[in-house]
């Protein structure tokens, strides 16, 4: 400013300094317009519904967020904190997360499984992470190397415990290896994933069935035991008199034989009885052995417990489904099965499980030719190895919230506890037990710990527990996190474009018949990234900055470290535009403290 101008702006009579005209010399920053408000916004990260819907307890939104930032390794790390085997679950999980995905209200859910699979494969291709240090003196024994046992061992190892897994079979994996056909889960993937778990410090002793090869008393030398032996006893169907009929065999046995490399002769016509995943796996495996396959299920497609995607794939491959029908008797001649007599059913009253009970329809008999009948109506557990103090109920081990049995220090999980029999649920139970065991052992060691509030560990309050939350080492900055699932109504869909979902690529049906090779190729890396970008990041601020852009009062500023925002309450007038326009419901309005 030149001198004469300075003279103009400064008081001529050294009075109040009022210039001859209304020329400004101050900013409106003097006005604390924030005093006008009676409500104030607050950043509050909520929980995405997929997270709550995941039986494993994975921060799906979190890794999608990191992918969105181009941080693929961090994303894989976040995933591996909760799930020891993403390359497997990405292939075989029934992904209930996708049923919870908010995109359902917009177009189609994010193909979470495919993204997980890509991240899992990427992690497998990378060098293994460093082996966790053993920092705890206690040792833990795990019975069974299925998903539950491996998960528990993995999480415990990451918590610093030396863990030994006892596996009855000659190779680790439990139902992953014995129950799931190779066309769904290539053995190479399974082997490498188990190798990774070993690399994480887990010792697996195969050919060591507890109760046969290893006495329970040997386990007593461990500080805690996690029992996850699985459910390997196929239920016996009642077809005809109940006598053994050649050509009728438990589907699980058949699957185990095929999965072990056997190629049994099932003839030209196979009938599979049941509606679960075992039934579908049997059907598709039999198909690959060259048979024409029909699945008989006594209820309707709606009630089928099998993964719908698997059913769809089976249909696509040529498996025939007959619903509302059950076998009642079999006919055989010369020691060979000829066929089964079937009864048509209809749905009656609801039973205890809430499902409508199938009841026979009059005159509804028909027969089907069959060379082999595979029964897949459920599996039971062999709990004979357990000491009596471990109480059971309905043939399963009774456990509490952290999968503690009635007899400390025994914990249990997987198919031997009362929960859905899925890989994801098994993995989730293993993690719960690992947390339970850690907490139990630390308290036993005299650490003064606050009681665990499991609801706080559960994603959204009703999802599975989070190892990250338990360890309190979340790499993603959370703004005043609230453990509630964000609702679609809390979000602002106007900011989202509709984008069609990328569907997995499959082997053609012609090729399928020939071999047991993997049928689902998943998504390309590019497609998986595109899918990750379809994620809405429900409930969690992803720094999109719309709040800042729409704030009429410039009251929202970027934090100095660039990660997140601050609200300058001196100027915020409480209009609520940041809340209304946040696409993902991560800003809420609270009452002003007066």
């Amino acid at each position: 400013m030149s001198d004469h101008r300075k003279d103009f702006y400064t008081p001529r009579d050294a009075g109040r300094g009022i210039p001859p005209i209304a020329i400004s010399h101050a900013s409106t920053l003097e006005n604390r317009t924030g005093s006008w408000k009676y409500i104030r916004p607050r950043y509050e990260d909520r929980v995405a519904p997929c997270n709550e819907g995941c039986p494993v307890g994975i921060d799906i939104e979190g890794y999608m967020h990191l992918i969105g930032q181009g941080k693929l390794e961090e994303a894989a790390d976040l995933l591996l904190r909760e799930n020891p085997m993403p390359a497997i679950t990405g292939r075989v999980c029934h992904h209930p997360c996708e049923d919870h995905c908010n995109r359902l209200s917009l177009d189609e859910p994010v193909a979470i499984h495919a993204v997980e699979r890509r991240l899992g494969d990427m992690a497998l291709a990378a060098p293994p992470p460093p082996r966790p240090e053993v920092s705890r003196p206690e040792r833990v024994a795990v019975v069974g190397s299925g998903p539950a046992g491996l998960a528990c061992a993995y999480h415990l190892s990451r918590l610093g415990y030396p863990v030994t897994v006892f596996e009855a079979a000659s190779e680790a994996g439990g139902m992953l290896r014995q129950g799931i056909p190779e066309y769904r889960l290539p053995r190479a993937i399974l082997d490498r994933q188990i190798e990774r778990i070993r690399a994480a410090g887990v010792e697996i002793r195969c050919g060591a069935r507890v109760g046969r090869d290893v006495p329970w008393s040997e386990l007593d030398s461990y500080d805690a035991i996690f029992a996850a032996p699985g459910a390997h006893l196929g239920k016996k169907p009642r077809i005809g008199s109940g006598e053994a009929i050649p050509g009728i065999r438990p589907g699980l046995d058949f699957l185990k034989e095929v999965n072990a490399g056997g190629r049994p002769d099932v003839g030209e016509r196979v009938v599979v009885v049941g509606g679960g995943n075992t039934a579908v796996d049997c059907a598709r495996s039999a198909l690959r052995l060259g048979a024409e396959v029909t699945v008989l299920y006594r209820r309707t497609p709606v009630e089928m417990p099998a993964i719908p995607q698997e059913v769809k794939e089976a249909r696509g491959e040529g498996v025939d489904f007959v619903f509302l029908a059950a076998p009642v008797s079999a006919s055989a001649a010369a020691g060979e099965l000829l066929g089964v007599e079937c009864q048509r059913m209809e749905l009656g009253e609801r039973d205890d499980s809430g499902r409508r009970r199938p009841v026979p329809v009059d005159e509804g008999r028909f027969s089907m030719l069959a060379d082999t009948v595979l029964t897949a109506i459920g599996e039971d557990c062999d709990l004979s190895f357990l000491p009596e103090a471990v109480q059971t109920e309905w043939g399963m081990i009774r456990v509490g919230e952290l999968n503690e049995s009635t007899s400390a220090p025994v914990f249990a999980g997987g198919d031997v506890v009362d929960q859905p029999r899925s890989v994801a649920d098994a993995l989730g139970s293993g993690k719960r037990a690992a947390i339970g065991i850690d907490h139990f052992l630390r308290r036993r060691a005299g650490e003064e710990l606050e009681p665990l509030v499991i609801e706080e560990l559960r994603l959204g309050g009703a999802g599975n527990v989070s190892a990250t939350r338990y360890r309190r080492d979340d790499p993603v900055r959370r703004e005043s996190p609230v453990n509630e699932v964000v609702t679609w109504a809390q979000m602002n869909p106007n900011h989202f474009r509709r984008l069609s979902r990328h569907e997995d690529r499959f082997l053609s049906a012609v090729e399928i018949r020939k071999a047991f090779g993997e049928v689902n190729f998943g998504l390309s890396a590019k497609e998986a990234l595109d899918e990750a970008e379809r994620c809405l990041n429900c409930g969690v601020c992803n720094r999109c900055e719309l709040c800042l852009i729409f704030c009429p009062d410039m009251a929202i500023t970027r934090r100095e470290d660039g990660d997140g925002f601050e609200i300058d309450l001196r100027y915020c007038k409480g209009c609520g535009l940041c809340v209304a326009e946040c696409p993902r419901g991560a800003v809420v309005m609270t009452r002003e403290d007066l």
Partner: protein, 298 residues
């Protein structure tokens, strides 16, 4: 991201300061902020009487970090012309001079000066932020007030009886090089249009819809959603007109029904269903006209 991330397309520079005196949730400061971000600091704002006369702050304050000249209600176009001429006379041809006027100062009392400036093709950008009535004086009708609206001078018993004046067509008839409509709900569209306009010589005109919570009788947090809905319903289409001849839409206008947009504004609460249907017909008819212009380029 199925959400288009726009943060990198909005310049970060803040030329509007906090502590301004706009009502909570007002669209007018949002519009000014975005426009100044697009224009940068080498900008002079000429401000005829409007809500912004208050928003800018009383003496000795200013909420702008660029020069601001308060001028008489009806003089936006002329005062901006004079400032531009004055700067040019001293060799400054780079500074962007803008007039920033409300709908009253544009559609009504300032129309003559605006028309004069446009006809002379003055090298200025004229922004009208339109809140559809004289809001600063307490919600009296203007010629930008839509048909059927309540204001304090069009009471519910006898609401606004005339359709909103078609200011864009009026300006297009001046054949100025650039006209755009813009919305605070479409910040990238707004900013990019302003950036484009900045480097066009001659008179450029912007019509920005600026929802007004107290005047429209809507919630403070509805401003952006209303502005967006106005576009989606085709009540306020986003477009550009070049040389008064080439009309172009710049956003998707799915043609959502107007009823939810009308019904959520209590200034329309007295309207019957038939009257809302009438508004829909008017919007449809206007849209057809615009579509024809876009197709035929006239």
């Amino acid at each position: 991201m199925s959400q288009t991330i726009i943060r990198d397309r909005i310049p970060r520079e803040e030329l509007l300061a906090s502590g301004h005196l706009a009502c909570p949730g007002c669209a007018a400061p949002i519009a000014m902020r975005l426009v100044l971000k697009a224009l940068g600091p080498q900008t002079v704002v000429v401000l005829p009487a409007c809500c912004w006369s208050i928003i800018a702050g009383p003496w000795p304050q200013s909420s702008l970090r660029v020069p601001l000249f308060h001028t008489a209600f009806e003089t936006g176009g002329a005062a901006a012309s004079g400032i531009k001429a004055g700067l040019e006379a001293r060799g400054d041809t780079k500074t962007t001079v803008i007039a920033w006027a409300g709908d009253g100062g544009t559609f009504d009392i300032g129309l003559q000066a605006l028309s004069g400036a446009a006809e002379r093709n003055e090298d200025i950008i004229y922004f009208c932020y339109d809140n559809e009535a004289y809001m600063n004086t307490g919600i009296q009708r203007s010629s930008a007030t839509p048909w059927g609206a309540w204001t304090t001078t069009t009471p519910a018993e006898e609401p606004e009886s005339q359709p909103k004046k078609d200011i864009v067509s009026i300006m297009a008839a001046h054949r100025i090089p650039y006209i755009a409509t813009a919305s605070v709900a479409y910040p990238v569209d707004l900013v990019e249009k302003v950036m484009k306009a900045r480097f066009i010589r001659g008179t450029r005109f912007f019509h920005i819809l600026a929802p007004c919570p107290p005047g429209w009788k809507t919630g403070n947090d509805e401003t952006i959603d209303l502005a967006r809905q106005a576009v989606l319903t085709r009540v306020f289409p986003l477009m550009e007109v070049e040389d008064g001849a080439r009309w172009r839409f710049t956003a998707e206008h799915p043609g959502d029904p107007v009823e939810p947009y009308i019904r959520r504004q209590a200034r329309f609460k007295h309207l019957t269903d038939d009257q809302v249907a009438h508004i829909q017909r008017e919007v449809d008819a206007r849209w057809q006209v615009l579509e024809t212009r876009v197709e035929h380029g006239t």
